[in-house]
Amino acid sequence: MNNKKNNEVVLSVSDLSIKFELRGRSLKAIRHISLDLYKGESLAIVGESGSGKSVFTKSFMGLLDSNGWIDTGSINYKGTDLAKFKNNKDWLKYRGGEIAMIFQDPMTALNPLKKIGHQVQEAIELHQNIKGDAAKKLTIEILNDVGIPMPEKRYEQYPHEFSGGMRQRVVIATAMACKPNVLICDEPTTALDVTIQAQILDLLKGMQKKYNLTVVFITHDLGVVANVADRIAVMYAGDIVEVGMAEEIFYNPQHPYTWALLSSLPQLGTKGEDLYSIAGTPPSLYKEIVGDAFAPRNPRALKIDYIKTPPYFEISETHKAKTWLLHPDAPQIEVPDVIRRLHEHFGGNR
């Protein structure tokens, strides 16, 4: 995990901005993000709804809605700048075969009128150039691989004959059938029960190890993040405000927004007392954001937070955060109680 240095970069995003045109007004959903993805790592992107985490990753696959476009920056994948792609033909070479995606709701990701086997086989025939019986054999192998019992029988069944967890396994099988390099999982377990969630997360981790996949998880559940992520990027209002190894984000968070996210976890609450909740709402993305986007909701905001956007300050080689609090001249601000408690609760005794 902790091998940032000797690891090759699979996908490199630099200065990426994405805009949408909505009712004659333009909205800046992603604001100048730069991020490298390393081979074989699992990166979790966390943030509230509307923070841009889905839009950000959809841009790696050319799946932005038709009213959205990449405004600035580049997405480098194997020497090609994906941000320059104009039409679907360009994307077809990369979509699925190089970068694949798993969606939140397995109920809607599968075609209800097609047999499960055919849906997986379709991906194999398209991406691996194997046809007929050989493709069927491989399909059954993959179904077995993702933990579907009696794959020969299941091959002939329709999605409605599968439970939610089993359906999500089929979706994973379809993604794996394309032999991707990078797998993006958009809230893969949100629609599932806890016990099934644990199984699907285990399956994804197993696949990642087996095929040395690079996995990007998009989720708002910090418990899931702790389970799967090597590295975490915290998104707020279209920007990554803090990024670091999982331990660094959970045990030594630096950005006030990360503090706020962690503090609002019910696991850290004390019974009978109020849970911490973040005041206010995220900023409007129609307007140009000045200074630190989180400042208006941050009770500890400094004056400069309203004037100038903070750059990244490095805490360690793998850990950086965009907050003026890390500036050498910044006043010493006390870390919220809850964060210290989290540290004692989980990290302190190790």
Partner: protein, 314 residues
């Protein structure tokens, strides 16, 4: 809350069935529990376990096939008098899971919140009704002027608060909250939970909290009943349940909840529940008290085993 042992709701041997005679499905079977006044009682289980069905049976949305449900000592299921029907409609209210689906898109907030008091004519005149709507909205942290708006103008968290406001206006005693926060964003969840607990303190409300997320349930409830396939398998005071989960299904459920702690998560072992671990052919399971405030579904052999586990922990 614990020393107050006034029973508000009593569920005895409840059975709920779906489907006709030919393909009958028993969703809930032999469920009994008491809910005390002022407490928060959690019903926890996976999808299909019947937790929502129990909640809906209490609301009288699903009819009970067997057993009885008593509210303040009076039987409320089956045929009841008009006066009692009115009382129950007023005093037992429900908060739904998805605030996007549970509000009438075509009605203004004013109407949505007033619907209950319109039905029961629980207001003197128009001015009184307006005042009641205003009070309900401010009680959940919304502005009174929101009354003239439509649901689509609100965010998920605000919509859920409208859902709570329309419950409050009825001045209920018992609120069945069916997964009230699972459709909400993390940062909003805390707000809604706080509102619920403030209202409970101010008005002595009693909650039945139906949920699948154990981490939330632990924080908000006083007692928890764990449901598996339509049966309660374990019922205990929340902290006791987390400290000493005895039933293998409870243990599996607790072990599956992801904790916000990467190191613990990496080392954790997930327990998987296999119903065939019970040997119930001869030795039938019974609902027994295993310690103070802790009940479990077990047969004689298992009772001995569970008692040993409890003693070894003391």
């Amino acid at each position: 809350m614990k020393n107050n042992n006034e029973v508000l709701l009593e569920v005895n041997n409840l059975k709920v069935e779906f489907g006709g005679k030919k393909n009958k499905f028993v969703a809930v079977k032999g469920v009994s529990f008491n809910v005390y006044k002022g407490e928060t009682f959690g019903l926890v289980g996976e999808s299909g376990s019947g937790k929502t069905t129990i909640g809906r049976a209490i609301m009288r949305i699903n009819e009970a096939a067997e057993g009885e449900i008593k509210f303040k000592g009076k039987k409320i299921n089956g045929k009841i008098s008009k006066e009692l029907d009115r009382e129950v409609t007023e005093k037992i209210q429900m908060i739904f899971q998805d605030p996007m689906a549970s509000l009438n898109e075509r009605a203004k907030v004013d109407y949505i919140v007033s619907e209950g008091i319109y039905n029961l004519k629980k207001f003197k005149d128009e001015a009184d009704r307006k005042a009641k709507v205003e009070k309900a909205l401010t009680d959940v942290g919304l502005l009174p002027e929101f009354a003239s708006r439509f649901p689509h103008e609100f965010s998920g968290g605000q919509r859920q608060r409208i859902g709570i406001a329309r419950v409050l206006i009825m001045e209920p005693e018992l609120v069945v909250a069916d997964e009230p926060i699972s459709a909400l964003d993390v940062s909003i969840r805390a707000q809604v939970l706080n509102i619920l607990s403030h209202l409970q303190k101010e008005r002595g409300l009693t909650y039945i909290f139906v949920a699948h997320d154990l981490s939330v349930v632990r924080f908000i409830t006083d007692r928890i009943a764990v449901i598996h396939k339509g049966k309660i398998v374990e019922l205990a005071e929340s902290e006791k349940l987390f400290e000493n989960p005895l039933h293998p299904y409870t243990r599996a459920l607790i072990s599956a909840v992801p904790q916000p702690d990467p190191i613990a998560e990496r080392n954790k072992v997930i327990e998987i529940y296999d119903p065939s671990c019970h040997n119930y052919d001869v030795d039938k399971p019974e609902w027994v008290k295993i310690e103070e405030d802790h009940y479990i579904l077990a047969n004689k052999e298992e009772i001995i085993k569970y008692k040993e586990i409890l003693e070894s922990k003391v």
